[in-house]
Symmetry: C2
Amino acid sequence: MAHSHDVPSDLTRNQGLVLGALNHSEGPLSAYDILDKLRGDGLRAPLQVYRALDKLVERGLAHRLESLNAFVACADEHCHRKGLIAFAICEGCGKVDEFADAVIEDRLGDWASAKGFKVERTTMEIRGKCAVCVEAA
Amino acid sequence: MAHSHDVPSDLTRNQGLVLGALNHSEGPLSAYDILDKLRGDGLRAPLQVYRALDKLVERGLAHRLESLNAFVACADEHCHRKGLIAFAICEGCGKVDEFADAVIEDRLGDWASAKGFKVERTTMEIRGKCAVCVEAA
DNA sequence: TCTTGATATGTTATGTTATTACGCTTGCGG
DNA sequence: CCGCAAGCGTAATAACATAACATATCAAGA
């Protein structure tokens, strides 16, 4: 099996660097965190990072966490998810757990059809403490 | 019945002004939007607005929309909701529809117990087009 | 080959959102 | 009256994001 952090070969240099930074991180990184990690590789301006992030998110290789203004690599390396993804964000250790739930997705779909609302994208973020950090408390 | 935009009487001046601004708005407002609306009432600094918003959100009188970095008055004026609230945000007209769904909440609860994750707060935001704006397209 | 268009890049400047730090004021219980 | 908690005012700054403009790279088609 391929390494879980292999990266598609058709990424541009900047996209590859940014995805690499996300893959090597334990937790979410802000665009400026990423920039700082990549100054040694020649990146100088926020826009270089934001542009790469846009593409990565568009392709499902990374996700934006709205409630943190930060980004994570997609956890599902080989078949980047379609549809609704939920994130559980631990306030203790900062780790993020990514999951999908068909029931929730259906339920939202039902609401949307009832209302005539055309869904384009959904963000779902749970803040709290992971098992390890609850234990530690 | 009371006016739908009545406001609790124990708010401070700044809190009242900020909630008033949200209540009179068609859609979400950023903190700086609110500040601009309230300069005539003596507000001068972002912090005055952020402090009021913190309290209002804490009391459930207003909600923060993470994906917009903006705020709305709670739609459910008299019994401010507990638990999970979802928001459908129209990219066309900017209006926000607020709703609760017990099934989704249960489903998340199940996931959380299975993982030992202690949920503190959940944000759920659907972006898309409302019926009116789909029609108009 | 040449040109054209799409995509990516680099750089500067600026816009937008949010917080830190500090000090004063107000109201209330002891 | 004192002390404390909550609120307020102000200035400065931090953190997040985009606009505007110029240049580069490369593949498809005349």
